[in-house]
Amino acid sequence: MGKSKIVVDFNYNVFINCPFDKEYTPLLKSIIFCLIKLGLQPKIALVSNDGSEVRFEKIRKMIEESDFSIHDLSRHKSNKVGEYYRLNMPFELGFDIGNKLYKNSNKKILILESEEYSVQKALSDLAFSDCRCHNSDLEEAIYVIREWFYENTNHIVLMVAPNIIWDEYNYFQSYLFSTLSNEGRSHKAIDRISIKEFMDYAKDYLTIKR
């Protein structure tokens, strides 16, 4: 039986720690859309680009003011010779877990991976942790995130079926395409809109829909 409580004004912050490369951007956009659709507020370092602020200080603030965190450790392996594997993601995860333990908080942390059990192989301290795998697939990422929030919060949210969120994400992409094309933007420019602008459009679109 589904949870029937609907709280539209559910405004919990969710810190997102993930790769910021071109390959990951489509996945990040689908995660952001899913969170906004669930009534949550994504917090991401990319959105606040004040050059005068020390990067880690910005991340620390976001971690501390978030009720949930999503850490995607998909990039713990180098893909080609000479490429460094990324340490930012496990570092921020470690900081978040330490913050939760030392402050004795009820924060919930979701760890994502692109290959099943790969995180446990790379980071054996997390051997018994529950990591969720998205296979680098956007539709799967939405299923996994929606399922995790359903399991990990009692204050549920506007809980919608995952396939409905995925379909709506596709509708939103057509809305974005049509709106930005009408403004005279090229396809390339539409693909390259910033995460901040993407979030603003997603919020507007979902507000109209609600």
């Binding site: 489509p26 689908s30 956007l138 539709e139 396939n163 409905i164 995925w166 379909d167 994400y169 596709n170 509708y171 939103f172 992409q173 057509s174 395409f177 049509s178 693909d191």
Partner: protein, 72 residues
């Protein structure tokens, strides 16, 4: 002179990745009209909707728009 504008409602049929296959779904409906193993089969079937006044929006696997076919 008063000008009244009557907004024409636009119907859209979307071709969306669904698991390992593709779904043909009319915007506003809860369920997909039909599921297909291949994208080409879904695009071919969607032409009926196009003839019936619906735009057909073909999506990529990442949800972005690959092609937007206007209603005939």
């Amino acid at each position: 002179m008063e000008v009244t504008t009557k907004k024409k409602s636009i119907k859209r049929t979307h071709i969306i990745k669904r698991g390992k296959g593709w779904a043909l779904k009319k915007e506003g409906n809860i369920r997909a009209t039909k599921l297909y193993e291949t994208k080409d089969a879904a695009i071919k079937d969607a032409q009926k909707d196009r003839k019936n006044g619906s735009d057909v929006v073909i999506h990529k696997t990442d949800g972005t728009v690959e092609k937007w076919e206007k209603a005939k």
